[in-house]
């Protein structure tokens, strides 16, 4: 696509004044009137360059607080840039946060006029479009109620209906579409796809890489108020996702490091004497779970033992606190525990023993150590646990007839 860029940002920065008390506010007012920069500010965005060409949609991605919404507000003209230059061309429609450009006290109808005028329609055009907008929003009698009485879904419906009817050259939006119900979301996504296919241009903020890749050709990754990477949508989104994977891995490692410190933990765990290998236990045999738990403050911890199926379905669990069991003191910090399940009624299959260390109060769960085992045997029974039962041998006809005559269910 060619044509003059719809958006051109050069070296754009934005700061917010720090003005929590009235003397700061007064000082800021004074600076403003003298036409000089406000002294006490915090930088939200710095040095942003962005060109959006017609038909070339851009997705803005980044973590919370990276400045994405501020960037959109600068482009829509809600905010004035503190540094640099913002140039826009054509009709711009914006759907920002909840109640995009709506006045809470105005009725739906009044807000339609207001927003249509903001996009640049004349009064006659607005009047002509109003029925179409009301039909798309599909909110019934609420159209003549003040917006503040609307549910968040209704506000989004109306906002989107206005955008859909006015078809701006550039549509700026953030995650608002996540608010509507399923069917309305589908309606919106379909409209957006049509809009993009027919040459419309989007500037969207989204945390959904799927949507960004689907709707945009370009992406802009904001990090701490500046551009970390921009360009082809796949390159940028992949770099962003990789960044997050690394970050998650880092925090997991540090979690484990913290867990290895001075906390309640299970040091070792044996099942029927095996500490590593996967023991095979015949069905109905004894299951003996033994282990050592560490206590950082010499008090006796609580041990929780659970049995789960290989797919994670819990089968049974108990704790030394529930059963008021005493652990055996090995030394100041180590306690031994031993739990015996006499005739395990588990059906053949793979299971896991999970042991957890808790504080003596039994409130906080600190550590988990698992150990797999197999119940061996041959059985065609269903489920995963054999319940005690017996079949009555050849029941007499009278006992059934008696039940059939009775009204009792």
């Amino acid at each position: 696509m060619t044509g003059k860029p719809l958006i051109e940002l050069t070296g754009v920065g934005k700061n917010y004044p720090l003005a929590s008390n009235s003397s700061d506010r007064l000082a800021a007012l004074w600076d403003l009137l003298l036409g000089r920069p406000i002294r006490r500010t915090r930088n939200i965005l710095h040095d942003i360059d962005l060109r959006v060409l017609p038909g070339c949609s851009v997705g803005v991605i980044g973590e919370n607080g990276a400045g994405k919404s501020t960037l959109l507000k600068l482009v829509t003209g809600v905010l004035r840039a503190s540094q640099g230059e913002v140039k826009t061309r054509g009709r711009i429609g914006a759907l920002l946060e909840l109640g995009a450009g709506f006045h809470p006290d105005y009725t739906g109808r009044e807000n339609i006029s207001l927003n249509a005028a903001l996009v640049g329609l004349t009064q006659t055009e607005i009047l002509a479009k109003t029925p179409e907008i009301i039909a798309f929003a599909d909110i019934g009698d609420y159209i003549d109620e003040p917006i503040k009485h609307y549910s968040s879904g209704m506000v989004v419906r109306l906002g989107f209906a206005i955008i859909a009817a006015t078809t701006p050259d550039l549509l700026i939006t953030d995650e608002v579409l996540a608010v509507g119900d399923e069917s309305f979301q589908k309606k919106c996504v379909k409209w957006l796809e049509n809009y993009v296919e027919s040459g419309g241009t989007l500037l969207i903020v989204s945390h959904s890489m799927y949507h960004v890749q689907k709707l945009c050709q370009q992406a802009l990754w904001l990090h701490d108020g500046s551009i970390r990477k921009s360009g082809d949508v796949f390159e940028v989104t992949q770099a962003y996702l990789a960044f997050h994977e690394r970050k998650t891995a880092d925090t997991e490692t540090s979690d484990r490091a913290a867990a290895d410190g001075d906390r309640f933990r299970i040091d070792s765990l044996w099942i029927n004497g095996c500490d590593q290998s996967q023991p095979s236990i015949p069905m109905g045999a004894e299951l003996r779970i033994q282990g050592v738990v560490y206590s950082p403050d010499e008090r006796m911890p609580v041990v929780v033992i659970g049995i789960v199926r290989a797919d994670g379905t819990p089968v049974y669990g108990t704790s030394s606190e529930i059963d008021a069991a005493q652990l055996g003191k090995i030394d100041a910090h180590h306690f031994a525990f031993e739990l015996v399940l006499e005739h395990i009624p588990l059906l053949p299959g793979a299971y896991t023993v999970r042991s957890h260390a808790m504080d003596p109060e039994g409130v906080r769960l600190f550590d988990t150590l698992s150990h797999d085992f197999i119940v061996a045997g041959q059985s065609r029974e269903l489920g995963f646990c054999r319940l005690p039962h017996h079949w009555v041998d050849a029941p007499t006809e009278e006992s059934i007839a008696h039940l059939q005559n009775s009204d009792d269910p």
Partner: protein, 257 residues
Amino acid sequence: MRQNWSLFIIFLRREFTEQYLGSITSIGWALIAPLVMLAIYGYVFGEIFKVRFPEADAVGFLGYLALGMWPWIAFSESISRAIKAVKGNAALVHKTALPHEIFVYSTVLATFLTHLAGYAVVLLVLALMGKPLVWIMLPVVLYYMLLVLLLAVGLGMIVAALDVFLNDIEHGIPLLLTMWFFTTPILYSPSLLPVEVLPYLDLNPMAYIVVSIRQAMLEGHWVPSGIDVVALIASVAVLIFGRWFFNRCSTRFEDFL
């Protein structure tokens, strides 16, 4: 430009409905409040204190009062409502790129026009009562009301912008307006003032306007002089300064709301 005009019309219409929506007599309220004030002041000063001065002899104290009261009410009500013009539209300031001036223009104009209509009704009543007013001077009254509008818009823009930064404005301005009301010769005639004060009276634009309107309507006396030129220039200057002040501040409204 055309877009801003559409927006202005939308806000103006909204201001009218907002002010009178849900009230039984609709626009009548705009008349009732000033009429009640007129009755109170008329009774207290005309009947209890028995204020008498030669200027009021022909039309009576009430008529004399009414001539000065409505321009003042149009002025002070416009300013009072302008205080909240930006803050009351905070939701829009946060989300839209519309020129913030429109809030003040629509608020002030809606209030002003309402009270101008009230003034017309009051003058009509005075005419029906056969009061000896110089009706040929009505265009002159309209001219002075135009000055009131220029002042109200200019000052309204300043208070609306200040209110975003300072909460004190909401409390301070009504007090200031009350003081201003009593220093303006509305309840009394300038002839009751000490002679030393008279030369400074015209520094108060509302005093100049009220006195001029009464002179025109009561005495049919209106010969433009140097002071009228100064007054016109000053009123336009207030408007231009107010607008400059407002637009300097408006770039940061979003940050401070």
